[in-house]
């Protein structure tokens, strides 16, 4: 029997995410916590599974330990398969050469043998930097229907922000005639989402050529896509309209978390029609104490709340002690907020203990920005950490 897969997904998860500062000093960006129980990588992985794509290579490089551990054998996403499933692909040592991944295209090139063992017709390239729900199978249908060589998912962004993105200039039929990387005067507002579908044979051809080219920086956006366009390949933009957020900065990560709150949230993670799968913690239900107040917040199992939580997102096992007030903040797993401490407009990473009578962050209206505490910190009783500060080491 010839075993093959129609489409294999390759998820680029090696990024450092340096603009998340303290949150990514010891973990890769796709492993950053989101929405109380998720990690960023849950979104592309769940999208794959929900789209019927059951073969995913995850390319890791920067600080892969937590990410590798988290993905494990893929069981939380139902990706523990005998043929296919999720595979962690780290840079490796070869007989003739051993290399770190030089660029996004090089990372895929070094793992072509992984892709080829499934003999796919199409290859989907994803990144682990975005929060969104997308049915990739619709995009794949579009790619097939339009007889494309490469299809790029694109989203309309406000014209004021267009110069931050890679912009696709398209003809009326959706074919792309020009790429502009972060243009000063954008001609269109259609931004690339960094999601590509290639017909497998074309991808192999261009990756192999790119590898021969010593001047190339081996990057999809900079090298592969422009090369394909100049060679006259059929490239299409696939317009996506839905929630899509790059969570590559402290501000955007904060906003995306806050988008989960409210009676009609901008982004609904509890949507039973498009389940976001994740590794669930084994913890008892959350306990809300006698004097507690929990308003407009998302709280996860294992939490014990004795103080006040307002407009906040709390991950598993967070303890908010008596008299403590957590407002407009994101508190990640197993963190403790001491008695009578006040936390406002802050992101506190996993397993940090804030002592009693501390003051962390200042309100948004102070204009000082978001306060960030890294993981595994011990903040002494009575400490004051001002708005906008980033604390990486105690």
């Amino acid at each position: 029997m010839i075993r093959k897969k129609k489409c294999v997904a390759m998820l680029l998860a090696g990024g450092q995410g340096s603009r998340l500062y303290a949150l990514t000093s010891t973990i890769a960006k796709p492993a950053v916590s989101f929405g109380g129980k998720y990690r960023i990588i849950d979104f592309p992985l769940s999208n794959c599974v929900n789209s019927g794509i059951d073969t995913v290579g995850v390319l890791t490089q920067y600080q892969p330990l937590l990410l590798n551990d988290y993905i494990g054998n893929g069981q939380p996403w139902d990706l523990d398969r005998t043929f296919g499933g999720v595979h962690i692909l780290s840079p490796y040592q070869g007989k003739h050469s051993s290399d770190w991944y030089k660029g996004t295209a090089n990372a895929i090139y070094q793992n072509l043998h992984f892709i080829k063992q499934f003999d796919p017709d199409y290859v989907l390239i994803l990144s682990g930097d975005h929060i969104y729900k997308m049915n990739y199978s619709l995009m794949l249908n579009y790619h097939i229907l339009k007889n494309a060589d490469c299809t790029i998912a694109a989203i309309n962004v406000p014209i004021s922000e267009a110069s931050r993105f890679g912009i696709l200039n398209t003809n009326e039929d959706g074919t792309i005639y020009e790429f502009e990387e972060k243009p000063k005067n954008p001609k269109s507002t259609l931004a690339s989402m960094g999601i590509y579908i290639f017909s497998a044979a074309k991808l192999y051809k261009y990756l192999e050529e790119d590898n021969e080219d010593a001047t190339s920086s081996n990057d999809f956006g900079k090298n592969i896509l422009p090369k394909m366009l100049s060679c006259g390949e059929r490239m299409l933009a696939y317009e996506f309209s839905g929630y899509w957020k790059d969570v590559g900065t402290i501000n955007s990560l904060y906003e995306a978390n806050m988008d989960l709150l409210g009676d009609k949230p901008n982004f609904d993670v509890a949507d039973s029609n498009w389940k976001i799968q994740s590794k669930s913690p084994l913890a008892p239900p959350q306990y809300i104490g006698d004097d507690a107040k929990t308003v407009n917040s998302i709280i996860m199992s294992g939490c014990e709340i004795y103080g006040t939580v307002e407009n906040s997102v709390l991950a598993s096992g967070v303890i908010v002690k008596k008299g403590a007030v957590v407002k407009n903040s994101i508190v990640m797993a197993e963190t403790v907020i001491g008695e009578n401490s006040a936390v406002d407009y802050s992101i506190i990473d996993e397993n940090t203990t804030v002592g009693n009578n501390c003051k962390i962050g200042e309100s948004k209206t102070s204009g000082k920005g978001i306060t960030v505490l890294a993981r595994n910190l011990r903040i002494k009783d009575g400490s004051e950490i001002l708005g906008g500060q980033i604390v990486d080491k105690a």
């Binding site: 929405g35 109380g36 129980k37 069981q75 939380p76 709150l261 009676d263 993670v269 509890a270 389940k275 976001i276 799968q277 994740s278 669930s280 084994l282 913890a283 008892p284 239900p285 959350q286 306990y287 809300i288 104490g289 006698d290 004097d291 507690a292 107040k293 929990t294 308003v295 407009n296 917040s297 998302i298 709280i299 996860m300 199992s301 294992g302 939580v309 997102v313 709390l314 991950a315």
Partner: protein, 367 residues
């Protein structure tokens, strides 16, 4: 010392007929996200027992769904692991077993395939944390034939009471249906013995047509065998009636008890994916346990809320247990209610039981 575990999931089904009408006692939901079988099963896993047979009798679909391959207890093993043992029936026998000993007669192949030194048998009618290794060590130390785990308790009903002498040897066994107020040694339905002894007991029972473990095996052998008691001193709740279920559930709101039972997070259960729980702008929640996946827009006090429960705006839930996937409409009011799974209460309804007599609403009922 290696031990094999046997869990009886159905034995006490009659104790809580309301909740076990559609499921085994072992699959009764408890504490917001658990099922009663999670406690004995986790106790076994935490005691290093990695071969566990679960004896079932009837209504065990929900139990099989819950336990599955045993993966969530780390019991999906090539060698050993968890094995569900449905009743063994053939064309000539029309009745299922009625007692513990008859159930054991039906699993002789499991009993004789096991090669462990000891066997630990438990039921699913208790919420407690017991380290079975301690029981086995004590058993060996005292050169006992059979160890029975008990706890000192007053105000229980439907319990087996052990009479012990000053050396903790069992000298009498009696069953009390009615409530008794004085302190007594209440049998926790946990047996420890050598596997070879259990094998002999079962074979002997088959040849002599014995049917009742306590009456036909324990009671006649109090002199002939060394049967000792092992006292469990930690938290213990016997689920002997709907009222006991309600009271034991409410005890989980006590910080010390909750931390004793769940503090080390080693009560394992089937992991299901739910989004985190969401509290609305007008939510008021006091002294309650809330599982994941809920949406709480109203008021909740002294209650236990299971997964994916929706509580509408203006609804007031007090002193109640609301199980998975139930929907409580706007402005409804619940007091001392046990709502089973998938119950929906439409808006503005007012329902109340009392603390001494909680009102039970069956699975899937819409009011």
């Amino acid at each position: 010392m290696r031990a094999v575990g046997i869990i009886f999931s159905n034995i006490h089904d009659n104790s809580v007929p309301e909740l076990s009408r559609i499921r085994t006692l072992g699959s009764i939901p408890f504490g917001g996200r658990y099922r009663l079988i999670d406690f004995p099963l986790s106790n076994m896993v935490n005691s290093g027992i990695d071969t566990v047979g679960i004896i079932t009798k009837s209504n065990y679909q929900s139990l099989m769904d819950h336990v599955g391959s045993g993966k969530d207890w780390d019991l999906a093993r090539k060698d050993g692991g968890v094995i569900i043992l449905p009743p063994y029936g053939d064309a000539n026998s029309s009745t299922l077993y009625n007692s513990r000993l008859e159930a054991l007669k039906g699993i002789t192949s499991f009993l004789f395939r096991a090669d462990e030194d000891f066997v630990v048998m438990t039921d699913c009618d208790t919420v407690c944390r017991i380290n079975f290794n301690d029981v086995i060590e004590n058993h060996i130390l005292h050169r006992a034939d059979i160890s029975l785990v008990y706890t000192k308790l007053a105000n229980t009903e439907r319990s087996t009471i052990l009479d012990l002498n000053e050396e903790n040897r069992v000298v009498g066994v009696s069953y009390k249906e009615e409530q008794h107020t004085e302190m007594a040694n209440v049998f926790a339905n946990v047996f420890v013995m050598k596997l070879s002894l259990l094998q002999n007991i079962v074979m002997d029972s088959i040849s002599h047509n014995k049917t009742h473990f306590t009456r036909d095996v324990i009671a006649p052998n109090l002199d002939g065998m060394k049967i000792i008691g092992y006292e469990h001193k930690g938290f213990y709740a016997g689920i002997t009636s709907l009222q006991a279920y309600y009271n034991s559930s409410m005890l989980m709101l006590d910080k010390d008890i909750r931390h004793e039972v769940f503090g080390d997070r080693s009560v394992f259960t089937k992991i299901r994916d739910s989004a985190p729980t969401k509290y609305g702008n007008c939510a008021v929640v006091k002294n309650s346990l809330v599982a994941d996946g809920c949406e709480i827009l109203g008021e909740v006090e002294n209650s236990i809320i299971f997964r994916n429960v929706k509580i509408g705006r203006g609804a007031v839930v007090k002193n109640s247990i609301v199980m998975q996937n139930s929907m409580l409409g706007e402005n409804c009011s619940l007091n001392c209610i046990i709502a089973d799974k998938n119950v929906s209460i439409t808006g503005r309804k007012v329902l109340s039981g009392s603390e001494n007599h909680p009102f039970y609403i069956g699975k899937g009922i819409m009011i």
